[in-house]
Structures are given as structure tokens and as C-alpha cells.
Amino acid sequence: MRETVIQTKNIVKRYGKFSAVDDISISVERGDIYALVGQNGAGKTTLLKLICGLTPPSGGEIGLFGRNSPAQLGAARSHMGTMIETPGFFPYLSAKENLEYYRIQRGGKVKAKVEDALEFVGLDKTGGKKFKSFSLGMKQRLGLALAIMDDPELLILDEPINGLDPMGIKEFRDVILKLNREKKTTVLISSHILGELSQIATTYGFIGKGRLLERDTAGELKEKCRSSLRIDVDNAELASDILRSQMGCENFHVSGNTLQIDEKSDSPELFVKALVEGGVMVSQVFRSGISLEQYFIKLIGGIEHA
């Protein structure tokens, strides 16, 4: 059984009468890339800030690496690398000086870690250029450099690809995957760019109106979003027999002259070939299913109308 790195139990954050985070319990296991998915204002950033200790909770409990008392949480957070909202650095210092500041502050003994982190994100050649002159993409990279500088066991990233160009997004994705695979870094990442998340996430937590709507592993989500095949035929009974006897397919249902096949839909030509050779006339073939985006909208729609 894998170690639980983050465990929140019924965590709540209220601002007056408004609940930004409302009774959320999540569990992130070691080695996971856990994607928090939600609209703007859904409560993703507030949840991450609660986990990082940037805002005190109104209720509930947070556990990190199995520790949950306030003093233990402080020590546990020193094993985390974070990037919450926009990266914050001193505008009058260079990239190296900014990281050096945090190295000193954290009592880091190895000066080379600053250089290594800068090299890792491609900012090692910026020299004395001040942070205030950096592009948004460079600022994001420096934020990531700080997050990974101390070889964290857990990375918490809030909308990390905002402002990055397509090349930067790809590089960022590669960095996350490399850290996860090579150093077994656990990642908790929030974004509303679902296409990007779907390329790295192993687990998804869907958040809406401050509540956790659903938690799925990548496999479960793939299953839920799986596309199916709809074939219009002239003889549904014969077509059903052919599917069963020749294709070994049981996972389908018939509605009038339409067959809805829920498996192997990535090779529709095989079904069509078998049906035609069996004497069934095929008039139309549709691929249907929902994308991650549609699935998310459906989930959010559920809560919007609740």
C-alpha cells in the first residue's frame, strides 16, 4: 500500500458567510500526479493555499506525510516545493540572487542547487537580468525552479502553465513527468486547461463551488469518457449475431436498427467489414463519446443546476 502524502479531512475555508472550500476530503498517494480540475473560483487555489499553510482553515484537518499537528506540519512542509498563483520574487534581484535568498533562508548547504535548478528550467544564462525584466514565461520558470530547488518529495503547482507559450508548456510537462518518473516526486497540480492535465495526471479531483464533486483515477476517467460506436444497419438481429459469433463482442445494445458498441471502438472498420461480409447492409457509422472537457462540463452542469 502506498504512503498517503496529502490527506485533508472535511477541510473548510470560509470568508464571512461564503465558503471557498466546503468540506473537502482528498487523499494523494506517493507518486501520484493529482490534477485538481475546476472553473475559476471553484476553490482550487484556496485548497492549495490551505495545504501550503498560506491561509488558516476554518475547520477540518490537514495531514502531510502522515503528520497533522501544527508543529509537525511546519516540518512536513519543508519537504514540499510550491508555486501558488503568480510567482512572487524580488524584482530588483536576478534569478540567481532570488534563489540564493531562499537557499540561505532555508539553510541550504549546497550552493550548486541554485545553479542546478536554474539550469533545469533553462534560466542559467540570464546573468544579472533583474526579475522585473523577465517575461511571464521566465517568471513561471523561476517559480518552478524555486519549487524544485530542494528536491521536494511533493510538488504543489497552481495553474503553472499560465503564460507559457506552446513550447514552454511542452517543456513544463516534460519536467513534471521527469520529476515524477525519475525522482518519484508526488505532484498536486491545478489547472483549467484540461488537455494539458490529461497528458500527465494519474488521478483527478473535480472541484466546483468549493466542493469535491468527484475523484477518478486516469483509468476510471478514461472509462467514463470512452467513445462508443453507433452503426445503423438494415437487420439488427443478424448484426447482433455476427457481433457475438464473429467478433466475440457482448458489450453492445440495440435500439431499433442501431447498434451501440461500447468496446473496441478504435477500430470501426473491423466491425463494418464483418457485418458486410455477413450480409448486413451498413448505412451509417458514428463514433460517439465524450471528451474530458465535456465530462467536466457535465459534472459542473450538475452542480450548477443543483
Partner: protein, 239 residues
């Protein structure tokens, strides 16, 4: 705590602001000494007496130090990097407060070195000068330090309260220099005795034997603002 202070000193000494501020104040002191030369007050004893009269001026400069150590962290959203590493909030607050005091001590030492150094070089040693005058000046300076530390606590608290450096500076100057007028308008004249402005005036002008009360009032003021600042800081929402 030491690591946090070390990092803040690293940050401060890697920019021109603190050096410029210290250089400008030191230069003004030297200019003032040169201005005294040739006149009736162009001697050591007058310069030392003037030094005591100038003890109220550093309170003008203190918000500039709290600005570079503390207020700018709110503006640049850098505190979240420190907090998310698990740093204890109380320890962080105290470290910022101590760093401002350390910078204040460094700045004071440099400015005084320039002031008394230029006095020794440029002005004449008169017959009225006694080393006792210098000792008296440093006793007053020590008492003034209690007022300065209270002023630092007040400035840090206002930054914490407002999260806006400009507003905090206005509030600081307003509190320091206008609160006596406000108390008069409200017919609360008795309260004027407890203001920091009153204490710094007393430190500069009272006989040496009467410096205890201003020091005690300043230390109480410091404690109140310091503790209030910690309470607010512990509840702060960082972004």
C-alpha cells in the same frame, strides 16, 4: 531565525536602496557640519548638543527600513514562498522586526561615524567641550533607541494591518506627528503624555535623570504594537 535574518540582510545588501539611504543621510550630516564651520556654533560642544537635538529625526527614516524589509514582501508576494516552506509565522514576524532593528543600528553607526568624524576634522575643539557631553549624548541615544524600536513596531504593525506600504507610511507619519493635535481636538490632552512624539522630545531635552519614564512608555508601546502585529500576522491570508 538567524537564517531568516541572514537572508534578509543578503537581499538588502544586494541592492542600492539601503546604501543610498545611508549615504544620503550621512552626506546631509557632513554638509550640516560644514555649514556650522566658521559660525558661533562651529565647535565640538555645539555639534554634540546639536546631535542630541537631532535625535527625533531618525523616526522619519524608520518607515523606509520597514518598507524594504517587510512592506515590499507584501507588494511582491514573496512571503508565500517563505510560508509554504513551513516557516513558523511568529518566528518570521520576529525575524523581520529584528532585521529592521539591525539595519537601523548599522545605519546609525555609519551616520554617527560620519557626523562625529567630520566634526572632529572640520570643527574646532572649544574650551567648553568635555567628553562628558559625548557620554551624555550616547545616554540620550540609548534612551532614544527604545523610542525607535517602538516606532519600528508601530510601522511594522501598520504594514501588517493595511498590507499597503504607502498607506501604512501615511498612517505612521499621521500617528506620530498628528496624534497630539487629534487628542487636543478631542479634549484628551492627558493622552499626549503617552505619545511616542512626546517621548522622543523628552529624550532629547529632559535632564538625564528623567529619561526613565519615556523609556518605559516606549517599551510598553513597543510591546503593544509588537504583540498586535503577531496576532494579525498569524491570521493573515497570503497570496
Amino acid at each position: 531565525m538567524l537564517k531568516l535574518i541572514h537572508a534578509d540582510l543578503y537581499k538588502t545588501f544586494h541592492r542600492a536602496y539601503f546604501f543610498l539611504l545611508t549615504a544620503v543621510v550621512s552626506a546631509l550630516c557632513v554638509v550640516m557640519v560644514f555649514a556650522l564651520r566658521g559660525g558661533e556654533a562651529g565647535n565640538w560642544s555645539a555639534a554634540v548638543s546639536l546631535g542630541a537635538m537631532l535625535l527625533s529625526y531618525p523616526v522619519f527614516l524608520l518607515p523606509m527600513l520597514t518598507q524594504i524589509i517587510y512592506a515590499e514582501e507584501f507588494r511582491d508576494h514573496t512571503l508565500k514562498n517563505t510560508m509554504s516552506y513551513g516557516t513558523d509565522r511568529t518566528v518570521l514576524y520576529i525575524s523581520k522586526w529584528l532585521t529592521v532593528i539591525i539595519l537601523g543600528v548599522v545605519m546609525t553607526a555609519v551616520v554617527l561615524a560620519f557626523y562625529f568624524g567630520s566634526t572632529a576634522l572640520v570643527l574646532t575643539r572649544d574650551s567648553a567641550f568635555r567628553w562628558e557631553l559625548v557620554r551624555e549624548f550616547f545616554v540620550r541615544l540609548s534612551a532614544a533607541c527604545a523610542v525607535y524600536v517602538a516606532a519600528i513596531s508601530m510601522s511594522v504593525f501598520f504594514i501588517q494591518l493595511l498590507n499597503k506600504s504607502t498607506l501604512a507610511i501615511f498612517l505612521y507619519y499621521g500617528c506620530f506627528y498628528l496624534s497630539d493635535l487629534i487628542l487636543k481636538l478631542l479634549h484628551l490632552d492627558k493622552g499626549i503624555d503617552y505619545l511616542l512624539k512626546t517621548q522622543i522630545s523628552a529624550v532629547a531635552g529632559n535632564p538625564l535623570a528623567n529619561l526613565q519614564t519615556p523609556v518605559v512608555i516606549s517599551l510598553v508601546t513597543m510591546a503593544v504594537f509588537f504583540l498586535a502585529g503577531i496576532v494579525f500576522f498569524r491570521k493573515e491570508d497570503f497570496s
